[in-house]
Symmetry: C2
Subunit: 376 residues, 2 copies
């Protein structure tokens, strides 16, 4: 698949216009755009511009309620439960994470659980909101079931990512990972390339390991069974029960504490997805001198980066370094967007009566995509 590169400013202008045209306020549109474009800047293409189509569909189908506002339904000085009322996931989540941060600044910790929201983009965005302010941040979400628990043949848990962000120098620690071995986006990439799936990724409709991407994906869409393995694979030998356990931890802070919809039922309703999130912020000052803690952590991260390399390896990364490097590069050199996504944006402009060429002058979709326009 070919890529075309656009400046961050171009993509920002486009995204904001799309969301204001959908009916969001200027401020809301800027917020949603920032979450999406942070994913693209971090190099997490699957969660950036490529997701515009999902949000468009969500709004069209009435799963995302444009005018809804999140509501605090239960609260203590250290905690809150929020009903998202099916508002845009990014807006509900920024609201919730701000509340967690506010509580952490007052009490040392804030934990916020959210029900009835929608897809929220990259988990790391919200965790990083806390670390940008010198706090430790957490974020997790449930999602449409895709993870097959150990010994099962049916997906019962979402990809359920968990993110942890911790202030450090020269770059913060930012760990953001699905609790499945990979995400569905990776399967789709292999499918597009016509390549067999690596061993240890997916299961067929009988719960048996399977490397055929088209079969696994069509089973997922048709809810015929099968799906993606937990981190650790499909047997206890490599720790399948551990990825399954981490998926459950994400479920706990999102759907369980909020008494919301669990992954096995997310996205099975009309007019709502039911997706739930969890957020937390912790002030390191609750444990001692925050500067000393930050320095201690930064020193350990440095030791990790400077550890002896494996044969054939060129660099040891600490979590979040790759994102910082990608961000620096893309701010300077632009953000690559693949042709498939460009065609979706073209369609989106048609739908919203926006002038595609005014954002992306001179872009022509390659011939292979001719049939797709208007049909995504």
């Amino acid at each position: 698949m070919a890529y075309v590169t656009w400046s961050l400013e171009t993509l920002e202008r486009f995204c904001k216009d799309v969301f204001t045209t959908f009916g969001f306020s200027v401020e809301e549109s800027a917020q949603i755009s920032d979450v999406l474009l942070t994913a693209d800047l971090f190099g997490i293409e699957s969660h950036g511009m490529q997701r515009m189509v999902r949000y468009h569909k969500g709004i069209e189908k009435g799963q995302i309620h444009l005018d809804a506002q999140p509501e605090v339904v239960f609260e203590t000085p250290i905690s809150a439960t929020i009903d998202g009322h099916s508002a845009m996931g990014q807006l509900v989540s920024v609201f919730a994470m701000k509340k967690a941060i506010e509580k952490a600044k007052t009490c040392g910790i804030g934990i916020v659980t959210v029900r009835e929201s929608n897809h929220y983009g990259i988990a790391g965005y919200y965790a990083k909101m806390a670390s940008d302010q010198g706090l430790i941040g957490f974020s997790c979400t449930n999602s449409e079931a895709i993870m097959v628990p150990t010994f099962a043949r049916q997906a019962m848990i979402g990809s359920n990512p968990i993110a942890v962000a911790v202030p450090a120098d020269p770059v913060p620690f930012l760990f953001d990972a699905s609790t499945t071995v990979v995400t569905r986006g990776k399967l789709e990439m292999y499918n597009k390339m016509g390549k067999p799936l690596p061993e240890g990724w997916a299961l067929d409709e009988n719960g048996v390991p399977c490397s055929e991407a088209p079969r696994v994906l069509s089973n997922i869409v048709g809810k015929n069974g099968g799906g993606i393995m937990p981190l650790g694979g499909s047997s206890e030998t490599l720790g399948s029960h551990k990825g399954y356990g981490w998926g459950m931890v994400a479920e706990l802070f999102s759907s369980i504490l909020s008494q919301g919809v669990t992954s096995n039922e997310c996205c099975t309703f009309e007019g709502r997805t039911g997706i739930c999130h969890g957020f937390a912020a912790i002030d390191p000052a609750a444990f001692g001198d925050p500067d000393a803690i930050r320095e201690h952590f930064s020193e350990y991260l440095k030791e990790l980066r400077c550890a002896p390399l494996a044969d054939g390896a060129t660099r040891i990364y600490t979590h979040g370094e790759k994102e910082v490097l990608a961000q620096e590069h893309r701010r300077k050199n632009g953000v690559p967007v693949n042709d498939g996504t460009m065609v979706e944006l073209l369609d989106l402009c048609d739908y919203l009566k926006l002038d595609f060429a005014s954002y992306f002058p001179g872009y022509e979709p390659p011939a292979e995509f001719a049939g797709f326009a208007g049909n995504y």
Copy 2:
């Protein structure tokens, strides 16, 4: 390796006598014994009676300070930092977890970070202390470096288990897992059996995957490089960076917040190990009606257990079920202890001048162990 089965009462009497003979009070000895024997009851043999020899060695070498008492060095209503002063890990940890629980009952949450402790046994024991009281419990620890970070050739992180316990019916959720793909104990088992290690477990001194247990183990002992892979293996394809990230999360709550010794330096000193822990308790009542939350979670766990089975599978477990089943069985039928461990207990009796036969009447070590007695 052959096993001999003893009643829980026999092992309890033995353990308590061992620890009082070492110089612990009756109450302290009962506490330490309970942590060890809970591991055996749960079927986690590696962390039960088999570990007696490690504690004996720790006391002998002066790493475990018999008379030391944990000290709270920093405290807020929701948090505390504890210096363990190299006391017995189990005693420091029960003290710390009780503090977390007390804070959770008052404020909704308590987080306690601990530095300068010692090996604490199974992580799940402390998390379960909270769930036994209707709270959500967490526990983690760092340990001597054994995990090789992605792209490195040297162990820099411990096996760093994390445990999460949540009240539920009919059995609580108890997830207790190292963040490495397996623990060192598993490698030792394969070594004893003369079997090659499964692919995806260990790395040699060059950071290259290796199935030779003797080579990996001697490299670990000699600190020549290599070690165990993070959960997810040694490459990003199967999520190596994710296990590595979870290991870092355990490090954060143990050695980082407490400003203690990080895994790469644990157990490298004279007269102390420097091992650190983290504990937390959360009251579900901070998010809504705790009974409704418990019921909602129990329902989801039931749905997981009742999901369609993979071909060839006989049962889907939720985390903690196996431990409850093992416990019921062993309370009724006794606890199996392997001959290797029995020989160690024989030696321990020699050392402490305890009458082995008064605890384990009629036991004779098999001929193959003749040379080991007195030499462990």
